[in-house]
């Protein structure tokens, strides 16, 4: 350990650290643009200059290693003066684009202009003009004028995404960021450069001009694109998810997420195909009915089958709580042992960074929750053959479009009763007798368990008809707080949907059971009491970053069913 003094306070730090790291660990912020804890040190922005006693000149703290007895000043007059000078140079050719720049509101250059610059420009000459609206790749847009040449994006592409296609050309004020001829920034992690870029030079083509950042609320969530379960923020305006951004969690995804997860996992939440309330088949047509009628219909139809004629398909897309209540209702209320779920593995679509071939967030969780055949019960393959040979007559499906599977697609029409939980009218729902419109992951509380056993919470970001942002403790933007019925923006579209655990609880109680869950937290509490691997977990303990279940290695399908 090395003893160093920063701004008059003494710290014991690891001698391998640089000054900026030592300061960060001890809660002292040194302003910086080009340094990033996950990238190599480049030392080109000069914003992190500090004064070190016995050194003749100011030193860049990102590339100065701590030594025993070092005395660092981050707030001396010389340092403050240097910061102002660096800011002034950075702003000389920077365009006055903030009004049309998507970064505005979360821009480091804007923030530092308030904190560390002189507040006006002494530069009267014409600014250097450079290319704008350059498509760097399918998902990333570049505005070269806004670039401050920090090289973060270049280092990310080289060191983390392993697709070294970005580089600088020209010199001095004429530096231009560009891709090598004939290449595009199109690696699966390309969009991470958007958050890495400290300014609005790199922006999302998908989110382009959709909203100003201060108009949205952000809610901690989890990506459902694969079994990694990257931590995200869901950004919502007028009850609509407009973008997902990665959220730091060193145990799961660090600062990153993949483009597919970022772009493809939220649009269905606001899609036009969303169901608005349950559907029931009448005269061969699916018609909208109320919840009571739909549940009464399921109850009366289910009563017509023997226990062994019923099967249940759980879901690796559903939360642990939904799957737990599902298997409990199947086993204890309907009395069937034929419970399993369908895997969604895309062989080959996997790498050694984040992306997993299991394209669901929760296979491990579904197994832990008990969605697996009981003693002598049927698994997925046997359920399909059971439907085909007529021994299985009624099927209850939780949040999964099983008709995508050719085996099920051919078998479904043999069924006498098909009940489906689905947020949208997909192929399985189209074939169903009763469709119960369930909430998406963006509308409910719950937990997912990723392939490493990391159990993490999701929180509602979008309100359904029965929810109210203020009453139910949602994240609220200023617009949410002051909305009234007289504003068009105060009347966002809300769907009539309910979380699956609640639909199942209502169904079970209508059949005479006495389930007493008032919230998903109640369900999780029961799970943590009854399931060994979850012992000791509570929503409070899971917090923002989640916890690993105990004895992960015992979580193979065989070990769990044993």
């Amino acid at each position: 350990m090395a003893k160093i003094t920063i701004d008059g306070k003494e710290f014991d730090v690891d001698p391998k650290l640089t000054v900026i790291q030592a300061a960060e660990q001890n809660g002292i912020e040194i302003p910086h643009f080009c340094w990033h804890s996950k990238l190599s040190v480049s030392g080109n922005c000069r914003m992190c200059l500090v004064e070190v006693e016995k050194m003749p000149k100011l030193a860049i703290s990102c590339a100065t290693q701590v030594t025993e007895g070092m005395v660092v000043k981050t707030q001396s007059d010389r340092v403050l003066q240097a910061r102002k000078a660096v800011m002034e140079f950075l702003l000389i050719n920077h365009p006055l684009d903030c009004p049309i720049c998507d970064e505005a509101g979360e821009c480091k250059l804007q923030d530092y202009s308030y904190k560390h610059s002189i507040g006006y420009s002494r530069f009267d000459e014409n600014k250097v003009h450079k290319p704008k609206r350059v498509e760097l790749g399918p998902n990333v847009m570049l505005d070269v004028e806004r670039c401050i040449m920090c090289s973060r994006c270049i280092r990310f592409s080289d060191e983390i995404a392993h697709q070294p296609v970005l580089t600088f050309t020209q010199r001095g004020t004429h530096v231009v960021l560009t891709t090598f001829p004939g290449t595009k920034l199109d690696n699966p992690y390309a969009m991470n450069v958007i958050e890495l870029c400290p300014v609005g030079a790199l922006t999302s083509r998908d989110f382009r001009f959709r909203s100003r950042v201060w108009e949205m609320s952000s809610t901690e969530s989890i990506c459902i694109g694969c079994s990694r379960g990257c931590n995200t923020y869901a950004w919502v305006r007028q009850n609509e998810v407009l973008r997902l951004t990665p959220r730091l969690n060193e145990g799961v995804n660090s600062y990153w997420m993949c483009d597919a997860g970022r772009l493809n996992t939220f649009k269905f939440v606001n899609s036009k195909d969303r169901l608005n309330g349950p559907l029931v088949r009448k005269d061969n047509e699916l018609v909208e009915v109320g919840w009571d009628e739909a549940i009464a219909r399921v109850v009366s139809e289910l009563k017509g089958f023997k226990k062994s004629e019923i099967a249940g398909i759980g879901s690796p897309f559903a939360t642990n709580e939904d799957n737990y209540v599902f298997q409990k209702v199947m086993r204890e209320v309907l009395g069937t042992k034929n419970v399993d779920f369908v895997s969604h593995i895309q062989e080959g679509d996997e790498d050694d960074f984040l992306i997993r071939s299991d394209k669901t967030p929760n296979s491990t969780g579904a197994r832990i929750a008990g969605v697996r055949p009981g003693e002598g019960g049927l698994d997925v393959t046997k359920i399909i053959s059971g439907i085909v040979d007529g021994t299985i007559k009624a099927l209850y499906v939780l949040e999964d479009d099983i008709a995508q599977d050719p085996g099920f697609a051919a078998a479904l029409e043999n069924l006498q009763l098909l009940v489906v939980h689905s947020p949208v009218l997909n192929k399985t729902a189209e074939a169903a007798d009763v469709v119960l419109s369930c909430s998406t992951y963006a509308e409910k509380n719950g937990t997912f368990t990723n392939f490493l056993g990391h159990t993490q919470r999701i929180r509602p970001a979008v309100a359904t008809q029965e929810q109210d942002r203020a009453r139910d403790g949602f994240a609220m933007s200023r617009w949410d707080k002051f909305a009234s019925q007289n504003d068009r923006w105060g009347r966002p579209i809300k769907k009539d949907a309910r979380p699956s655990w609640r639909i199942l609880t209502a169904l079970a109680n209508a059949m005479g059971a006495k389930l007493r869950y008032a919230s998903s937290e109640d369900v999780f509490k029961e799970m943590s009491e009854r399931i060994g691997t979850l012992r000791g977990m509570t929503y409070l303990r899971l917090g923002s970053l989640g916890q690993k279940v105990t004895e992960v290695e015992k979580l193979t399908p065989q070990a769990i069913s044993a």
Binding site: C98, P99, A104, F209, R212, R488
Partner: protein, 166 residues
């Protein structure tokens, strides 16, 4: 009034005071004198008040060469203390890159403070000289681009006033 509801007088009025005649004469004198002074009132609606450029009437959007100056930055919307303005941006081929595909002012919310005009980086929203605002429903009070756009020509006095008083 006293605490038990009876009128309290310091002393009884004189005969002249009781007759009201001196007070009536005083009033008549004021009326007749006013008849020969210049008028400040208008015979509305036949005659209308034409405010000078410093007046803050309803906010409007400046249109120049057939397009709005607005770049849909949303600053007016953010600064508006009454949350009267809703802006939705979209992309345009023009140099300004973005424009408001939707711009709506809820004239029931607007308090005519002029903050939007002050904050706008493009001089794209200004307070006009229009003060006649009548609605028969809340919906009617939501002014879209169709009712907000005014040519820069028409708004010249206000734009010049703003430039002089920056």
């Amino acid at each position: 009034m006293g605490h038990n509801g009876k009128m309290i007088r310091k002393k009884d009025l004189t005969f002249l005071q009781k007759s009201y005649i001196p007070e009536i004469l005083k009033g008549m004198r004021q009326t007749i004198a006013e008849m020969f002074k210049p008028k400040f009132t208008f015979r509305y609606p036949e005659e209308r008040f034409r405010p000078n450029p410093s007046f803050r009437g309803r906010p409007v959007l400046v249109q120049e060469n057939e397009v709005e100056r607005c770049v849909a930055c949303g600053l007016c919307s953010r600064v508006c203390p009454a949350l009267a303005i809703e802006v939705q941006a979209s992309e345009t081929e023009l140099e300004k890159e973005r424009y408001p595909i939707k711009f709506e002012i809820n004239m029931v919310r607007c308090i005519f403070c002029g903050f939007c005009e002050e904050v706008c980086p493009e001089e794209a929203i200004v307070m006009s000289n229009e003060y006649e605002l009548v609605f028969s429903s809340q919906e009617e009070a939501l002014f879209g681009k169709d009712r907000l756009l005014k040519s820069a020509e028409e708004l010249k006095p206000r734009l010049e006033f703003l430039r002089l008083n920056r």
